[in-house]
Symmetry: C2
Subunit: 192 residues, 2 copies
Amino acid sequence: MAKLRKVEDDVLIERLSKKFKDVGFEGASMAMLSDAAGLTKSSLYHRFPEGKEQIAEEVLKHTRRYLDAEVFPVLDGNLPPAQKMDFFASAMSQIYLHGAESCLLNMLSPPRGQTNSCGDAIAATFRQLLASLTNVAKQSGATADAAQVRAEQVLIELQGALVVSRGVADLAIFKRMLARLPNIILHNRDPI
Amino acid sequence: MAKLRKVEDDVLIERLSKKFKDVGFEGASMAMLSDAAGLTKSSLYHRFPEGKEQIAEEVLKHTRRYLDAEVFPVLDGNLPPAQKMDFFASAMSQIYLHGAESCLLNMLSPPRGQTNSCGDAIAATFRQLLASLTNVAKQSGATADAAQVRAEQVLIELQGALVVSRGVADLAIFKRMLARLPNIILHNRDPI
DNA sequence: GTCTATAATATGATAGAC
DNA sequence: GTCTATCATATTATAGAC
């Protein structure tokens, strides 16, 4: 039988995830991550022998599992588009704590020019989000090209709102973005 | 008379700025910044006695001076709104190298919960951008509330497009965002 | 599985020669 | 103003006791 775990896997991942969201990959040291986890550095290395990069990978996998289990099935399911997008906006508001928490996919992105295992997982998750949102837009009547642009705009506004609302320390900006989010997919008028 | 400078101030700031844009504040060590600058660490400390934070501040000031000299006068000037926004989109495309370079205001943002001298400069610059863009939207016929939302959306889409196009390594996403940018200010329809 | 102790390296920062 | 040399600290990582 396995030895007693002071901190359960899920709790551990949540705590590490929070730290990464706050300070980013480069900003998080093993000492900070240990503190956040409630374990010593050595214990952290025992759970993640390859260190910080492995922690980042596991944290990303955890996020991906959540999306695969709770979000993509709804977007890819049989609900009317409007209900799908209301659910999506609500889920994003929860995930990002109404704009108070940064996006892991952004905070763990490798520097420009570089590429690592996190970069691949991040790209794959962004692409799945784009694909599922594109399908909702098509379901909502958009042409293939328009659907892609609408999906891109949703992801862009989510990420951008997190950056801007952090930059000016104003969560209302994120809230106003969320309000227009469903309509981007459901009824995005083309430029004049 | 002053001693000979191996690297001119403007060139130095440009090089340091590039490094910060690539790897962020936490990701940039004094050693990396020295390498990028083409000077030793000691020389860098001579030019910036307070170290990395001072470098970040100076780099932000340099960006702000550019905006004050080249961008805000146009947005706040007497051109028709459409011309202002065409100029703005073009300027943003240049600044961000068509989506290949991250935003300094984002990459130098302090971690959530923290606040430093950079955070204040970043917030101030974001707010001035919002103010000037809001006025262009008003000039274009928007109500005060609508104008504010349009300005926010422009900043959000700029920042978000940089994040997403980096995440999926696709500059076309930034380009498509730029194409719809002017119209957000000029003719942003309200949600249904 | 967790911990203390420790080693090797990287980093921020300074002193002093040229 | 730039450089080499140096130092204190922080960081990554491992060894070994419990």
